[in-house]
Symmetry: C2
Subunit: 338 residues, 2 copies
């Protein structure tokens, strides 16, 4: 009998384990256009916090007392869906569970056999070759239109998305300043090739960012890749060069507390002609999937983009893995291995 995590209460502020319950899924015969699967890897991502709200935050919020969804890598056990056969490895949205029945609404895709043959691990399609790597690639290159020679500032640079941004930017000959919390994460960002690293836990962001720019001999930033909002975003406004572009991917600083953000430098939007744009991976991915797979696959194969995973074991660990995102437990991609 398969089990799935259900959202049983809408969190106020930071979620707790009591907001979730592990429940059995009904065991039914397979209908047309369905797959029976077992999951191997589950993804937990900060954006899921938004889907736990009732508000019309994201189009598709989680329903109460229903299985939650999210990225997962599974193996097909039984198929009544064209193009899928037992043994296939698939990327799909039926996460937060160890297996069961999924339909077309969970968007199953077979992992590309040619890419797996190059030695990529299946769970890579949950991070650098999937949601987080794709988010980094789209945000940096499409939304912010970053170019070689640009100075790029990225927050949560040790996280799954941020670490991909750092590495893609370095591979494209940009100057990169990464912000991360604490010495261990900072060393990882440094290892990734960032030209300067800021520790936001060691003091205010803006003076550290200004000092890093001065050390690097740069007048300001051309691109900001935002994962956190708040103080980091304000520091980006303060140091933006003319015609700077901000790709707004996340604001983990405010997902839980919902506090107002105090923006002292937002007014620089006008004299510096800053363009700030929010984006969501799924809006953009289909249009650029082929180019992304080719480019990112090459960067991984060449060693330009390194992998790092923080792994929790077992379906029971999924809520704690998710909650760990908000206390900064992960370096690289947080994953649940089943």
């Amino acid at each position: 009998m398969s089990k799935a995590w259900h959202l049983i209460r809408r969190p106020q502020g930071l979620p707790s384990r009591d907001d979730f319950a592990l429940r059995e899924l009904p065991d039914e015969p397979l209908e047309a256009d369905q797959l029976r699967i077992r999951n191997l890897w589950l993804s937990v991502d900060p954006y899921m916090r938004g889907r736990m709200n009732d508000a019309k935050s994201y189009a598709a919020g989680f329903q109460l007392d229903q299985p939650m969804t999210g990225g997962a890598i599974g193996e097909v056990l039984e198929s009544r869906m064209e193009g899928f056969a037992p043994g296939d490895l698939i990327l799909h949205m039926g996460g937060w569970r160890d297996g069961g029945i999924i339909g077309l609404d969970m968007m199953p895709n077979r992992l590309p056999a040619d890419l797996l043959a190059t030695g990529l691990s299946p769970q890579t399609f949950l991070h650098n070759m999937g949601l987080t790597g794709g988010t980094a690639w789209i945000g940096l290159l499409r939304i912010a239109a970053a170019r070689p020679g640009d100075t790029v500032f990225v927050s949560a640079a040790a996280g799954a998305v941020g670490s991909a941004v750092v590495q893609i930017a370095k591979a494209r000959e940009m100057t990169v300043i990464g912000s991360a919390g604490g010495a261990e994460k900072g060393r990882w960002v440094d290892d990734l090739g960032a030209d300067a690293v800021i520790d936001y836990k060691a003091g205010p962001v803006l003076p550290q960012l200004a000092a890093a720019l001065e050390r690097l001999g740069k007048p300001g930033i051309d691109v900001y890749f935002d994962n956190v909002g708040g103080e980091h975003l304000d520091a980006a406004f303060a140091t933006a060069n003319d015609f700077a572009r901000f790709a707004i991917c996340g604001m983990i600083d405010v997902y839980n507390d919902g506090k107002a953000q105090e923006m002292s430098y937002l007014v620089r939007t006008i004299p510096a002609r800053i363009r700030m744009e929010g984006f969501i991976y799924t809006d953009q991915f289909i249009d650029c999937a082929e180019e992304f797979y080719a480019d990112m696959g090459g960067l991984i194969a060449s060693g330009a983009v390194l992998m790092r995973e923080t792994v929790r074991d077992g379906l029971d660990a999924a809520p704690d893995a998710f909650l760990g995102l908000f206390s900064g437990e992960n370096i690289g991609k947080m994953l649940v291995r089943l």
Copy 2:
């Protein structure tokens, strides 16, 4: 002997008359590529407040103890510049003075004779056919890419730029909600054809904006044209439809006090995929001047865009006219007539 207003002290917060001094200009023989002129109309605009700061706010700040500059309409008295003859009416940047010598750096342009022949008054080139109308047109149609059917929110809708935005948007079959302070300005915005008018002095902006949207049967705004920042901008984030575009033209709310803006809804940038962009007229104008003159000239000739001016008389009145912008004294364009 000509006279010009000089900036003699950098204002802290709201400027005062004591920051300015009226001084005589040297009377010298005309050199090559110079014009001797007398001014007929001077423009005072909120953006000039930024140029009074020492900070690297705008590229070209005013120098202390030098004549200030700004848009003006003048008549050529004597010319050693090719293409200009005595009697020509010109638009140029040598404002804040009653006349004197100007060179190419003041960007003199003859007013288009064909447009004057249609009955346009010369000072129209300081507002609807110039800086403020051009700012409205570029921000609405180019930066925000507003389309027929869009719901547009505009702040300072009774001001020179805002009133042009309202009218261009209505001429393009958009739904328009304008915000203005007080009953008299509200009536003017209503006369301009806005579908709903908010009085920000009567209460908080967001509930009024939400109520207006509900009355109009609209789920949110597609475009925000920002002249003020602060509470208006936050209300725009709160009510933005997916893929909304914000053209950020000004933030008069924060030009003087420089206080942090409390943004409670900035986080909606991501789920709603909002694009916010700051812009400056002069970056864009040359590329679209011809299209703008044709389009705006047609809108004025057809009566779709009405004029309104708040006029102060005499060079002595220039600082007070400027200061009046920050206490909301103007309906339509604030001008100084010499």
